[in-house]
């Protein structure tokens, strides 16, 4: 970790109690969901991280606590620094505050996460599906969502699979 980032990390740790680790040259914070908006605002205003480079999620199913990690990548264009923030979320259908008010480009990132993982963002102005069709059922990037191949039926599980087999509507 270089000097300026070290200082920022210590600062954020003191202010938000966010613990951080360094792995493969990347600094990663763990921030609770209710503090993430303040955390991002402090990063943007105080520490000059002007850009939310990326926002994504990871599903750790079947673990439920936490089931998801929301992963933010912040970039400071002026200071040439990067850092990561991870927000752990429990439960199957979690809700967390939206970052749209701080970084407007979180809008589509969060719509994508809603679409793909079913995570709801409170305070989001336009939480609709973005990549999948609007009437799609389920959230494809969840780990309990099958890839779409046909399940092989054996005599012992023939009935079970027959019931849930996808087929065109008549």
């Amino acid at each position: 970790m270089n000097k300026p980032l070290e200082k920022i990390a210590a600062d954020l740790n003191a202010e938000f109690g966010a613990t951080y680790t360094e792995d493969r040259g990347e600094v990663s914070f763990v921030v609770p969901a209710e503090r993430i908006v303040d955390f991002a605002a402090a990063l943007k205003k105080k520490h000059k991280f002007e850009m939310l480079a990326s926002q994504t999620a990871v599903d750790y199913w079947p673990a439920l606590a936490p089931r998801y990690h929301i992963v933010y990548q912040f970039t400071s264009v002026s200071k040439k620094l990067r850092l990561e923030a991870r927000v752990p979320l429990d439960g199957n259908d979690p809700e967390m505050p939206s970052l749209v008010d701080v970084f407007p480009n979180a809008n589509w990132f969060e719509r994508e996460l809603f679409d793909m993982f079913g995570i709801r963002f409170s305070g989001h102005p336009d939480l609709r599906r973005i990549l999948m069709p609007f009437d799609w059922e389920g959230h494809p990037l969840r780990k309990d969502y099958p890839l779409g191949y046909e399940e092989v039926q054996f005599s012992f599980n023939y009935e079970d699979i027959e019931v849930r087999k996808p087929r065109p509507k008549d």
Binding site: D23, R24, E26, E50, M51, L52, A53, S54, T56, V58, D59, V71, Q73, V77, K80, R82, E84, F103, P104, N105, N107, W108, P125, D126, R128, R129, I130, L131, M132, P133, F134, D135, P140, L141, Y145, L147, D170
Partner: protein, 411 residues
Amino acid sequence: MTLEPVMEVTVNDLKHLLSERAAEGDTLLLNMGPQHPSTHGVLRLLLELDGEIIVRCIPDIGFLHTGIEKNMEAKTYVKAEVMTDRLDYLNTTGNNLVYVMAIEKLVGLDVPARAEVIRVLIVELQRIASHLVWLGTHALDLAAMSVFFYCFREREKILDILEMCGGQRMMTTYFRPGGLWRDTPVEFESAVRDFLKVFPRRIDEYEALLTKNPIFIDRTKGIGIIPKDKALEWGLTGPTLRGSGIEYDIRRAFPYAGYENYEFDVATDDGCDVYARYTVRMQEMRESLKIVQQALDNMPMGPVNSANRKFVPPPRSELGHSMEAVIHHFKLWTEGFEAPKASVYMPVESPRGELGVYLEGDGGPKPYRVHFRTPSFTNLQAVPWLAEGHYVADLVAIIGSIDIVLGDTDR
């Protein structure tokens, strides 16, 4: 069987995105795309128009969504690489580069110097090819048809070079974790030198057609203004950001693949408009040429693949006499290599901006999660506020100027 009409999202669902005048029928709702040539792919824009002026613009994406991230979770690290070519189909080797570099970062794999230089060379050629497609189609949208033919003539030369190396014009999958698929062929150097010889003059030709062309200037100057602070806030990257005068290039800010060893300038323009983004990309092609020249002149000799047999399969010739090589070959192509339980984020500068891959391993041979932060997806978000208050014809110029690729947007 009766066919039920499937309702698209109704206007009621989109009420919060339209102006109040839409409810009174004051304005007109118009669909542009998804089969409109100037949307550069299958992008649908729902426009609210007051006469010919855009009041609101609502992009609708996802027509090209192929579930690449989900599919990659079911394949081994190496087998998943072919899917990265299909993301941004104008920057195929760049997608390979970011993905293999993320793997290398995750497992801690070194790349030989020669492979690194060839990677940079190929990626910069690809950047020129991508900018040529952009230039051709952008000019075509603005009714300058001949530029298109000239651009595609030169692009074909670059694709020939890619075919020489990877066996394919576009979907090369030439870069592999730990190096390259194979070394470049003997005719590679002369082909690149020929290209370097003719191309500077060709850029002058394009500029002669457009830079001082009054019709082109009328259509581009003062259109689609992106203020500096807004550009950063909206996460815009690449030439779209540098066209607003911000000198941010990942090749310079966070060097990767040995970019710190090359001399080149980061092209910027303070114009903030469509024309500024045009000049930035033209300048970038010249800078890419410089990098290609340096890479070619300082090409080190040596192997192009890491000797770490736990990750890189042995050459075919070894299989005949080495039992160990057979074992490695068998293990790598049946099971694949295992990556530790950790995550990395690897950003590179694609022709469109920051292309980042978030890669997480779980100790097994398949990626646990791959996410592509694609520049087109983020840059496209700016279109609604860029388009507001402009004519429909200017929207075409704006879409062209941020250079979206829908395969990149929808993944």
